[in-house]
């Protein structure tokens, strides 16, 4: 049974299009295929493989080697699932940034090759915009306040004047990075996620106790680095129960900070719905808090499901399609990657005034 979603924007063309997208900004290599038909986006394939380090954090070169290895088999698998061949594809897209250089270059190389060999239009996609767009597609929410939390990003975003505006963001480390680094430093990760549960969430179940930790909110901006340092200090020699208390308090503090700035931005913008996207969107505790927030204000909330919350190929192919529909494409020799690419840099013509 194909997954069909109504595209929440006006679509300038009537013909059927197939979009193939490659994601490789960080730990995930992903291939997504979407077919646009009569105003609906049909998900034909979304196959992804995550590089999981055996010890320590993510090494960009090791991750890139993983991506190179997976590129061909995943592409083949995606095409098989979609029942298509490369010649059926109308547009090829890739994640151009932000992300890790060596990783980014994998999807860019694959996409450049396919685009030039098969003579297909090539579209570079902003990874952050892709997270938001796929969330909007799945949720069907009209003009939501977007909370984007992942290993590399923590921002509160709203659409305005054909662009995405950042209302608040982290001034140092992102939320996912805070949780991962803490887990790694205290020796409860890797693996960072087991059965969909983060190491910090598992550890938080060891205790109900709450200990005060630094809470740093600056208007709508956040700072997590002081929290990380303090939590690591408290964790030193704390024992299992004590570590549980630190995990519980760390998570509680970090999430409360995020929800507080989200609420402030909600009232500032007057948006009438909340959308949670990015890898940390799978976290059930954060989801619960945002549900409560939405309930307080009597507005709908939508958290993207795990298969599209983390990095994935589908979001790139869908966003590439939107960009192509609005006249964006580049020559393969100009298809570059950009490690530092901000969400608020671009102009996205499908966003209404």
């Amino acid at each position: 049974m194909p997954l069909l979603y109504k595209v929440p924007y006006k679509i300038p063309v009537d013909r059927e299009l197939v979009s193939l997208g490659f994601e490789s900004t960080s730990h995930t290599f992903g291939v997504g295929i979407v077919r646009l038909r009569k105003g609906f986006a049909e998900v034909l394939a979304n196959v992804n493989s995550q590089y999981k380090p055996l010890k320590g954090g993510l090494h960009p070169r090791e991750a890139a080697l993983h991506h190179m290895e997976k590129a061909y088999p995943l592409l083949k698998q995606a095409l098989r699932e979609a029942g298509l061949s490369l010649s059926d594809v109308s547009v090829v897209s890739y994640s151009m940034g932000p992300g890790l250089g060596p990783c980014l270059r994998v999807s860019a190389s694959v996409a450049r090759f396919i685009a030039s060999y098969y003579g297909k239009p090539l579209v570079p996609v902003n990874h952050a915009v892709a997270h938001i767009e796929v969330g909007r597609l799945f949720s069907g929410l009209e003009d939501p306040l977007v909370i984007y939390v992942s290993g590399g990003n923590t921002m509160i975003v709203a659409a305005r004047d054909r662009g995405y505006r950042v209302l608040g963001e982290t001034l140092d480390i992102p939320l996912g990075n805070l949780l991962d680094t803490f887990a790694r430093e205290v020796g409860i990760a890797p693996p960072y996620v087991v059965d969909g549960k983060h190491a910090v969430d598992i550890c938080a179940e060891w205790s109900q106790e709450f200990i005060p930790l630094p809470y740093t909110v600056k208007g709508s901006d956040l700072s997590f680095s002081g929290l990380l340092t303090a939590a690591l200090q408290k964790a030193r020699g704390a024992g299992k129960e004590g570590l549980g208390a630190v995990c519980n308090s760390l998570r509680e503090t970090a999430f409360n900070m995020l929800v507080e700035v989200a609420e402030r931005s909600l009232l500032l913008t007057g948006k009438k719905s909340i959308l949670l996207v990015g890898g940390v969107a799978s976290n059930t505790v954060l989801k619960w808090k945002l549900e409560k927030l939405a309930e307080t204000h009597g507005i709908p909330y939508y958290g993207t499901p795990p298969e599209v919350a983390g990095d994935n190929g589908l979001m790139i192919s869908y966003t590439g399609l939107l960009m192509y529909l609005h006249g964006v494409s580049v020559e393969p020799e100009k298809a570059l990657v950009k490690q530092r690419l901000r969400l608020d840099e671009g102009d996205y013509p499908w966003l209404r005034e």
Binding site: V166, Y215, G219, L290, K292, R340, L341
Partner: protein, 225 residues
């Protein structure tokens, strides 16, 4: 005692009621517990932020700045009773103001923030939504995140928050407004304006994925030269 009580507005952390007592209009600001927040935070936030707001408002008032006067405070209940200021937030007006009027307002806003900073007070959530434009005057409101500090970092963060707010909510006039704001801020700030300005640039390049060259230039300024 109250002759009339009406729901007035809802902020991110408080509900406001407009109350009429003994012939004068007042605002009752009640900070709320949040269902999503750990109870430890609820108590601390409610009490701490109510206390800080009351203290800073009365200080600013004594400096002659345009803020609503705090009249009654009940810290344990998170209640603050304020003078009612009739008017509209600048956030709803700036985009449609004449250029001249907007320039004047931005300048006046800049002057007040400069005087505030000159007295070691930072706002902590400086946005156009946290203002009231009343009879040609700019009132600054909502000091729940405010505090005292000698560190230019806090002043720079105020400027950063305002600029961020302008760019996000009023992209068409952001530069113009900020320039006029800073123009007056520079004249009225009693410390070394250049220190605040430099730190302001620095805070801006701290965001994620800011262009590396830009960040290098700004940081070099601090550490090398």
């Amino acid at each position: 005692m109250a002759e009339r009580v009406a729901y007035f507005n809802r902020g991110a952390e408080a509900v406001l009621y407009r109350v009429r007592i003994l012939g004068s209009d007042l605002i009752v600001k009640k900070r709320l517990d949040k269902p999503y927040r750990h109870e430890a935070f609820n108590k601390v936030f409610k009490e701490y932020r109510t206390r800080v707001e009351a203290r800073i408002l009365s200080h600013l008032r004594s400096l002659g700045l345009n803020v609503p006067a705090p009249l009654i405070v009940d810290v344990s209940k998170g209640i603050l009773v304020l003078e009612y200021v009739e008017g509209t937030p600048l956030s709803r007006l700036v985009d449609s103001m004449s250029r001249e009027e907007r320039g004047r307002v931005a300048g006046e806003f800049g002057r007040q923030v400069a005087v505030m900073h000159s007295n070691r007070i930072y706002h902590g959530d400086l946005t156009l939504a946290n203002t009231i434009y009343s009879g040609g005057e700019v009132y600054i409101i909502d000091f729940g995140l405010a505090g005292y500090s000698d560190d230019v970092e806090e002043y720079a963060i105020d400027l950063h928050l305002l600029y961020r707010n302008l760019q996000a909510m009023h992209p068409g006039i952001a530069e113009e407004f900020m320039n006029q704001f800073l123009e007056n801020y520079r004249q009225w700030y009693s410390g070394v304006f250049e220190d605040v300005r430099k730190r302001f640039l620095e805070v801006r390049v701290r965001g994620r994925y800011v262009d590396r060259e830009l960040r290098k230039t700004v940081m070099r300024d601090r550490y090398v030269s």
